[in-house]
């Protein structure tokens, strides 16, 4: 692919970076990145991936835009309430950058569809809001040997790690989803919009760096962010020999559909 004059102009501010250049821009335009969940994490990730000229962006989400989403899910506007999130997100991406081809999946990921979906992409961003999906994405990426970025957020805090095949996975730290009854209820949880924004942008940055083969990825590390005290900490960790997925004696041989904790459980 040769860059057009318009593309050279559009991406000029990143093409002048030695880590990008014309070659890197072509790599981005040829790359395919999947964002699972067009919500708090997915929205900022999608906006920046689109602006950067990622040539193919996949979006998986089965939900419609709700008014309670708008406080943090910045790709969706007030007029989009009740619209499918994938269509709302696709419209914005196409307005930002006509170079981007958007592939939409109007569904939630589950054990029977996820492997087929992620197979088409170079890098996967976990922008989901629940533990069953997070473990499913980790396991599917492990089996399909796909790199992905994990993101978790709660109140003013967030955590992220990047998985590349042969490196430590999410289950090396968190072996199994937390017991359902212990997951904080809706009223206890909550999230400040800027936390989702910051973390989603970091995830997009990891995807772009992976495509460009530049810099240091967040592999074998967990970045923890506390916006309330403005603390950033990186915790090093190793591939865990006891990991039920990638350890020495794995017990997980196939994908698992864990039951999602539901909002209206009172505990």
């Amino acid at each position: 692919m040769k860059l057009t004059n318009e593309q050279i102009e559009r991406y000029s501010r990143q093409i002048i970076l030695k880590e990008v250049g014309g070659k890197g821009q072509e790599k981005l335009l040829n790359s395919k990145i999947l964002v699972i969940g067009a919500g708090g994490l997915g929205s900022p990730a999608l906006l920046y991936l689109a602006s950067a000229g990622v040539g193919t962006i996949g979006i998986v989400d089965g939900d419609k835009v709700d008014i309670t989403n708008l406080q943090r899910q910045v790709i969706h506007f007030t007029e989009d309430v009740n619209k499918e999130k994938i269509y709302s997100a696709k419209e914005k991406i196409e307005k930002i950058n006509p170079d981007v081809k958007v592939i939409t999946y109007n569904t939630r990921v589950n054990a029977s569809n996820i492997r087929e979906i992620i197979r088409e992409f170079d890098f996967i961003i976990d922008g989901t809001d629940n533990f069953p999906a997070k473990f499913l994405i980790n396991d599917a990426c492990f089996f399909e040997k796909k790199p992905f970025s994990h993101g978790g957020i709660l109140r003013f805090q967030g955590q992220t790690l990047t998985y590349l095949p042969e490196n430590a996975c999410y289950r090396c730290i968190f072996d199994t989803p937390p017991p359902k009854g212990l997951v904080p209820t809706c009223s206890e949880a909550g999230i400040i919009g800027v936390m989702a924004g910051l973390l989603g942008v970091i995830q997009a940055s990891e995807a772009i760096k992976y495509i460009l083969s530049t810099g240091q990825l967040l592999t074998n590390k967990l970045l923890f962010i506390d916006l309330l005290n403005l603390e950033f900490r990186t915790i090093n960790f190793k591939r865990n020999k006891n990991c039920p997925l990638c350890g020495e004696n794995p017990t997980i041989r196939d994908l698992i559909d864990y039951e999602a904790a539901v909002c209206d459980i009172k505990n």
Binding site: G37, G39, G40, L41, T68, N69, T128, D129, N130, F131, K134, G152, I153, L154, R155, Q157, G158, Q159, C172, I173, F174, D175, P178, P179, L182, V183, P184, C186, A189, G190, I191, M195, A196, L222, F224, R233, I235, N236, F237, K238, N240, N242, A260, A261, V262, C263
Partner: protein, 72 residues
């Protein structure tokens, strides 16, 4: 003894504690929601009760984080 917990030095009167006792002292309400890394190695949950920490150990308490919205 001195323990380095999540990057900060903390001092304890006792010279030895189990991870389980440490989590209680740290007022961790839901130990099932935390992963413990002791000196760079993730500790299996069933070992919380019989693993002792000693002076100068480095401990990371890493919490599960989901989505923060409705279906966490």
């Amino acid at each position: 003894m001195k323990l380095i917990i999540n990057g900060k030095n903390e001092f304890f009167e006792k010279d030895s504690l189990t991870i389980g006792e440490l989590l209680e002292l740290k007022k961790v309400k839901m130990p099932e929601m935390v992963t413990v890394e002791l000196n760079g190695t993730i500790l299996e949950r069933e070992k919380f009760k019989n693993t002792y920490v000693k002076d100068n150990d480095t401990i990371e308490l890493i919490y599960y984080m989901g989505g923060g919205s409705q279906k966490i």
